[in-house]
Symmetry: C2
Subunit: 276 residues, 2 copies
């Protein structure tokens, strides 16, 4: 593992690291904020999964999460959104290929050799963090934005016991019923729609739900709201009687101005469970 940068930040350290990923068969870069308390021993961690076109860097520089994480004494990890590199398949569209991994393990060519973001986020990167940093693997929570909200929700419902809480900003809620989903799931997983359902938060909510609390914020003026389909997840949550808070925030859009406006609430929401 290589240290690309480390900056003092809110009494802790915002680092950026690169490592050879076995899951993705390429070098992967991630950001990690460690609060001051990490100098004395393992701290809880909140995962932040980013959206389409993002790298590890967007949320790290724009979400304004570190100050709240420092206040709560928790770490933040910012994975990249796909494998990267000249040898890695890509597509001219912004929403397919590099920057658009969709948090699945691709089974179809040309994506299958590298696009294994599910395994990367669920298995490889947690193991690396536990081995290399003062991270308490027993205290994990997860959030994300847009495609990353989709990833956070599907990971949380698929890995019971892993995350104590899950939240999302403007998540893609029902990819099997949206152009933000059908396109990518067919490319990465093939045309058998049966294989798609385990990557659809609304379907997973109907089937299994989540054992902990859920917090979801979406802006009423989100320019992509028809693609996000919050109504599908809201219906599934209500029908399941799932513990959850879904907030439609008046006037907010899909940008990081929206994310940063509510990140304090999300960090506090997770910290309450992480320190319980």
């Amino acid at each position: 593992m290589e240290t690309l940068s480390e900056n003092a930040c809110f009494g802790g350290v915002q680092g950026v690291y690169r490592h050879a990923s076995a899951a993705c068969s390429c070098d992967m870069t991630f950001g990690l904020f460690l609060p001051a308390e990490a100098a004395d021993g393992p701290v809880p961690v909140l995962w932040y999964l980013s959206g389409l076109t993002c790298t590890h860097e967007n949320a790290m520089t724009k979400a304004a999460a570190q100050g709240w994480a420092a206040e709560q004494g928790i770490a933040l990890v910012f994975p990249d959104t796909s494998p990267r590199g000249e040898d890695v398949a890509d597509h001219d569209d912004y929403d397919l290929g590099q920057g658009a991994g969709f948090y699945v393990n691709a089974t179809q060519d040309p994506w299958a050799p590298h696009f294994r973001m599910w395994d990367y986020v669920a298995e490889e990167l947690p193991a690396l963090l536990a081995a290399e940093f003062a991270i308490d693997g027993e205290r994990q929570a997860i959030t994300g934005h847009s495609m990353g909200g989709h990833g956070a929700l599907t990971l949380a419902m698929t890995l019971p016991g892993r995350y104590r809480s899950v939240s999302a900003f403007a998540p893609i809620c029902n990819p099997t019923g949206s152009d933000w989903g059908r396109k990518q799931l067919s490319a990465y997983l093939g045309n058998d729609e049966g294989a798609w359902a385990r990557h659809d938060a609304s379907a997973l909510m109907r089937e299994t739900g989540f054992e902990g609390p859920i917090l979801i914020d979406t802006g009423t003026k989100d320019q992509f709201i028809d693609l996000l389909r919050p109504e599908a997840l809201a219906t599934a949550i209500a029908e399941r009687r799932q513990q959850a808070v879904m907030r439609m925030q008046p006037g907010y859009d899909h940008s990081y101005f929206f994310v940063s406006s509510f990140i304090e609430d999300h960090v506090e929401f997770h910290a309450e469970r992480l320190w319980a």
Copy 2:
């Protein structure tokens, strides 16, 4: 004036606007955060002047200032750092020409026709804000980062009564004694060093000082600290018996991870004076 974007942000609006600038003889773009209170009438304003290579956008997306400004009910304005455009002179070096206006009125060719950032920030943009937005011109304060800290300090000391308070993050403190200054002042103002002194915060501190409070943060690990010369300003402040707080922050560097770590303090510092 043209609206380039408006995003809901912490209950207010983060806007970006473009207008034909008479001072700079080109189109200029700026960011403006208005808190919710601006819907009911004029609010105080804190100016944020950015550093070398920055546009109106860097602090707007990375400084995490809006949440604190919203809490205090004050506006934030983020001017660009120079004139822009194909017709505007430029230089291959990152620290001269576009993105490096240094908050002076250039008198030398090829810079003189457009590089009038002093007039732009001191006169034209305040008048535009007062005319177009709910900004209380009687309640202004100013801050900045690096070259923008230099601009904030020199404007504040040169325009008594204009700003109630001034602060800076890692400011260029003594440009007449630094390669971050001598190069630009000679290019923009010519070789008569007598004309430079009114753009040197340490010289102005020795001559005039500031009638209000001053807050300055600099990181002990700032990679540019030898160019900033905080010791020159610290000496001038001490010798003048100027009201001021100068903090050397252990471990911090020159980045926005440093700025965002202390922006809460700066916004609160200014708000106390703006609402007095």
